[in-house]
């Protein structure tokens, strides 16, 4: 085990644990961004330069931002007073331990794990990836384009405030608790900070 790999692995694991245990949701989101960067560093270490940089661009530049927006739009910027863990957390831990034990058992008993890297590092430059995308993998590429378009349209429709649909669903509910204007969605945390 080389020192760079050890440092990156410890950092990634620590960030992932922090993301899953911290009480404040925004802290969790920032920790998961660190974990994504750690994974990108692992990819770079494995000679997969293009994938590592794509990982940073998509996960840190887009997914982390999306998560942060969702946290603020659902007023999750403050740590809750109650427990952050689910009522059935004990079952979750048991299932996780079972899955982890199975994975470790599988890795221990596999014959490929002691394989060392080939002497010459494999080449994966941008041109080769582009060639592969346009020849052998052209159908998956088109499918993923369709999927992303569908996801874009779907996300907009789900999150869109449609007055007629809302009126049907919210039949009988009071309309007072709906935010009056878009700017008040952004729950400024200063209101709580000032009370301390």
């Amino acid at each position: 085990m080389t020192p760079p790999f050890a440092v990156i692995a410890v950092l990634t694991i620590a960030a992932a644990v922090a993301a899953m245990t911290l009480r404040n949701l925004v802290h969790s989101a920032l920790a998961i961004a660190v974990a994504f960067i750690g994974l990108a560093a692992t990819y770079l270490q494995l000679n997969a330069q293009f994938v590592g940089l794509t990982q940073i661009l998509v996960y840190v530049g887009a997914v982390a931002i999306l998560i942060v927006f969702a946290i603020l739009l659902t007023r999750g910027g403050e740590a809750p007073e109650k427990s952050v863990f689910s009522l059935s957390w004990i079952w979750g831990v048991l299932v996780t331990l079972a899955v982890f034990a199975t994975l470790v058992w599988a890795i221990k008993h596999s014959f490929v794990v002691e394989r060392e890297t080939s002497v010459t590092a494999p080449e994966a430059n941008v041109q080769q990836i582009g060639q592969a995308l346009m020849t052998r993998f052209v159908l998956p590429l088109e499918v993923i384009g369709l999927l992303l378009t569908a996801a874009l349209v779907g996300a907009v429709i789900i999150a869109m405030k449609e007055e007629s649909v809302k009126a049907k669903i919210e039949d009988g509910r009071s309309k007072m608790d709906e935010p009056a204007n878009p700017s008040s969605i952004l729950h400024p945390p200063s209101s709580r900070g000032g009370q301390r």
């Binding site: 925004v26 802290h27 920032l30 961004a33 330069q49 293009f50 940089l53 794509t54 940073i56 661009l57 840190v60 530049g61 887009a62 982390a64 931002i65 942060v68 927006f69 603020l72 910027g77 430059n125 941008v126 041109q127 700017s183 952004l186 400024p188 945390p189 200063s190 900070g193 000032g194 301390r196």
Partner: protein, 391 residues
């Protein structure tokens, strides 16, 4: 003269090789590149602040700073000393750790992106195969830093400014990246060094820079507009609109941290201008073969200064947009336009040489510009404004 800095570095490394152990040499080499980049661009930051303040002053019919040194040109030094010795105030309710980390996280990517910019012949810190992707991947990290600054301050102006800034940066990142794709399509590489090499020839009077093609010209304009919005500068400076949000996401920062935000903003502006030069303006190439005796890095910095003056001029001239105008402009004009620009670049490649490709490519760009521009103004009832001036 052209290779003076490269030669200097090699000479220094050769001298050091006798003293230092061999494993330390790559580290020293990297440190020398980093020190040079930080030194040069921090100096440029100082020059730009004074240029901007004096230039804006002239545009607004006033003098600008003129007290420190000759014509006020030592003002940046005075500002720097002031920023360092000022008290660092952190709000009591702030999230201390995130509040401290935000300026650091903002400056690091702003400096990292310079490592792939070729600022002269053989003058690039790392020649990455996927350099352009590196530039955008690292640059994307600054959005998270902006959010961290705004959220951790526990101030509603800071939070609103951060949300505006992040929404704006995410929206304008798409046209920024897509406008560079046309260059990637034509050159067939993501490496900035190879893109500059592709523009090093001369065709007749004009050099083979991409800005002198229909798709390249449109791409350059779209790129500069997106770059302006990415850097949160006027006319896209809503995130820090003084009349509404005090100073936006860095309202609660003071002293040296405030200076760091300022530095990161300008470093980002230089980096993205440098990328624009690399992609569209021929990088460090000279415009005419007769001028090749001027060093390559001098051309790069001359072009950079030209773009900086353009940015200052824009800032002094145009009024600030509203949020809805900003988003409409991004999604209804910029993004369709960059997508059509990709078609124009493809037509340029496939129609073949001669006059025909100028006609086809130019017609696609110009026609879509007229149609989209008309669509943007449609139904707005916008008429020409008349002004009355004081006698």
């Amino acid at each position: 003269m052209d290779q003076i800095f490269v030669a200097l570095k090699h000479w220094l490394l050769g001298q050091l090789a006798t003293i230092l152990p061999a494993w330390l040499l790559p580290v020293v080499s990297a440190l020398m590149s980093i020190a040079a980049i930080i030194g040069v661009f921090a100096t440029l930051f100082a020059i730009m602040t004074i240029l901007e303040r004096k230039g804006l002053g002239r545009i607004q019919n006033r003098y600008g700073p003129n007290r420190v040194g000759p014509f006020g040109f030592l003002q940046p030094a005075a500002d720097g000393i002031k920023a360092i010795i000022k008290e660092d105030v952190v709000p009591r309710a702030a999230d201390k750790v995130v509040h401290f980390l935000a300026p650091v996280v903002l400056v690091i990517p702003a400096l990292l992106v310079y490592s792939v910019l070729p600022i002269g012949r053989n003058m690039v810190a790392i020649d990455l195969d996927a350099g352009l992707l590196f530039f955008f991947a690292v640059g994307a990290a600054s959005e998270l830093a902006v959010f961290m600054a705004g959220w951790s301050s526990r101030n509603k102006y800071a939070l609103l400014g951060a949300m505006r800034a992040v929404a704006q940066m995410v929206s304008y990142e798409i046209p920024l990246i897509l406008s560079t794709i046309s260059v990637v399509m034509i050159t067939g590489t993501l490496s900035p060094v190879k893109i500059v090499e592709a523009q090093s020839t001369h065709a007749g009077l004009l050099p083979d820079w991409f800005v002198f093609t229909p798709w390249g010209f449109a791409g350059f304009i779209l790129f500069m507009i997106s770059a302006n919005a990415e850097a949160n500068r006027s006319p896209f400076d809503l995130p820090e609109g003084e009349s509404e949000l005090v100073a936006g996401y860095f309202t609660e920062y003071s002293g040296f941290k405030f200076a760091l935000f300022f530095l990161a903003e300008y470093l980002g502006l230089f980096a993205v201008s440098g990328l624009g030069i690399t992609l569209f303006l021929g990088g460090w190439n000279s415009p005419f073969a007769a001028l090749d005796f001027v060093p390559s890095w001098a051309w790069f910095f001359a072009k950079l200064l030209g773009l900086i003056v353009l940015f200052i001029w824009t800032r002094g001239t145009l009024p600030r947009l509203r949020v809805d105008q900003l988003m409409n402009f991004a999604w209804k004009f910029m993004i369709p336009m960059v997508l059509i620009n990709l078609v124009a670049a493809a037509a340029w490649h496939y129609v073949g040489g001669g006059f025909a490709r100028w006609f086809v490519s130019g017609a696609i760009v110009l026609g879509s510009y007229l149609l989209l521009g008309r669509g943007l103004f449609h139904g707005k009832g916008i008429t020409k404004r008349t002004y009355r001036y004081a006698e």
